[in-house]
């Protein structure tokens, strides 16, 4: 029982970073109706810039964190300009394919920065695990959860209390109508990319500070985790992305404990399969979709 609770809480803590990755994918999907396959690579390039600073100059962790955030945001803006802005609205497939190409390009740049192998990444702070009764929590995991909760809270406020947030939500529902109402859709897209890249940068940083290392597979890894978590929750749904991320974390933690490390990823895929068979739109996706359909039918 103690194991079960411990694993569940660990899963939720680590899953909170999956949730942030999924939020990044889902916001762009909502605004653009396109999958940004370069998102994981965007985070990877930012992380590599930070690692490069660490390896070569041994700078302070705070500077590394800031460098990662700055370079993910810049890279996100680059991705938007190159393969989402330039490609016509209705050519969704073309921009998805080009975002895949950019994924490769960004990975290539990262690997040139630090040639292929594993590099050490500095942990945020060196403290012992926190003991709560019979439970033991890693300080990094707690930080991860706290940061993720803060990010989600800030996002919620941004989406519901600001002019940009309202424009983003309007555009996610109906870009054409948003344009009629005088929303500068190009600017909303650009700002959305900057925003999700910031969220992704935070997720990437906390994951690496926990793992204390980075490998050239980091881009692929973040892409998989984010996409699976998004699919679990339902594409385009923000609560779904959070739920999906947490669920993925918990399932991974349990399967790793009870079945062994080699079943961790497999169980995630089985979970995705099961959800997609039982609820084809994802956990929250269907409801959102049918609500939207209803909206279109009524109006």
């Amino acid at each position: 029982m103690i194991d079960f609770v411990q694993n569940t809480v660990d899963g939720i803590m680590f899953g909170s970073s999956y949730a942030l990755l999924a939020v990044g994918f889902t916001i762009i999907f909502g605004v653009m109706r396109r999958l940004n396959l370069a998102f994981g690579a965007t985070i990877m390039l930012g992380a590599y810039v930070g690692t490069w600073l660490h390896v070569n100059y041994q700078v302070n962790v705070l500077i590394i964190a800031l460098a990662i955030l700055a370079s993910t945001v810049l890279t996100g803006v680059y991705v938007e300009r190159l393969c989402f802005r330039a490609i016509r609205r209705d050519a969704a497939l073309a921009s998805m394919v080009s975002s895949f190409v950019i994924w490769m390009q960004l990975e290539e740049v990262a690997i040139h920065l630090l040639p292929e192998r594993t590099y050490p990444f500095p942990s945020l702070f060196v403290v012992d695990a926190i003991e709560v009764g019979a439970f033991l929590f890693r300080a990094e995991h707690v930080t991860m959860l706290v940061l993720a909760v803060a990010m989600v809270g800030a996002l919620h406020l941004l989406l519901h209390r600001t002019r940009f947030g309202l424009a983003l939500r309007a555009m996610s529902e109906n870009p054409r109508a948003a344009s009629y109402m005088g929303i500068d859709t190009g600017r909303v897209m650009l700002c959305s990319f900057a925003l999700v890249s910031l969220v992704g940068g935070v997720a990437g940083y906390t994951i690496l500070a926990t793992d204390e290392q980075i490998t050239p597979f980091f881009g692929l890894w973040t892409t998989f985790k984010g996409l699976i978590a998004m699919m679990l929750g339902g594409m385009g749904s923000l609560p779904g992305a959070i739920l999906g991320g947490l669920m993925l974390g918990v399932v991974e933690a349990h399967s790793q404990w009870y079945l062994g490390n080699e079943y961790k990823d497999l169980s995630a895929y089985i979970l995705l399969f099961a959800i997609l068979v039982l609820r084809p739109g994802g956990l929250m996706g269907r409801r959102i979709l049918s609500r939207e359909e209803l909206a279109y039918r009524r109006v």
Binding site: L166, A170, Y180, M181, G182, A295, Y296, R298, V299
Partner: protein, 246 residues
Amino acid sequence: MTPVLEVRGLRVSYGGLRAVDGVSLEVRHGEIVSIIGMNGAGKSSILNAISGIVPPDEGEILFDGESIGGLATHAIVARGIVQVPEGRMIFGTLSVEENLRVGAHGRGGFLLRERTRADFGRLFPTLADKLDRPAAGLSGGEAQVLALARGLAAEPRVLLLDEPSLGLAPKLAADVFDLIQRLREQGLTILMVEQNVGRTLALADRAYVLESGRIALQGSASELLSDSRLVANYLGMSSTSSCNTT
């Protein structure tokens, strides 16, 4: 007096197919001007060209004598030309109030002005106590009223209305026409597209009759009402078509 809005020699096409073929029209301050025509005549294309939604092939669009051709839609809205698009396009996942605030976005705002709020309560009493509801739950008539109110929240100088009575039961359509009448009394300039020819001409000052992308007839509403060509082609047709749509 120079017109507030003037369109000269407008041509619009979609993938080589011409939808609007050399249309010129003007709207003066405080007028209601209507564009009448059958399905596919090119009415929406004209409004969309004015709003900067579709790029024209040729022609000039002047607002207060200044060219607005080539401006992005958000820049055109910011100048004061706001369209209430065909099919209403309200945001079903947002609340009624948030829909209005998206309208206010067009004039650079975020919250509704007190005046807008007061106008809203007076002009749209049916919606005033549903501000917190998701817009998806509104009836067709309420949705159309919300679409109008959202457009007004942008505080337009010229309002473009694309088939505001489309799909509404006759009673609701009559309410919408009443509302448009009241907007005019407040000094708003309106360019509207309608298929309900009888009602529109009763409301409008002037009208243009569009056929296959060209203007076939134009004149004051009263002149057109007594024009036998219009009566034969449209008034007869519109009554049957309104039976089909409602």
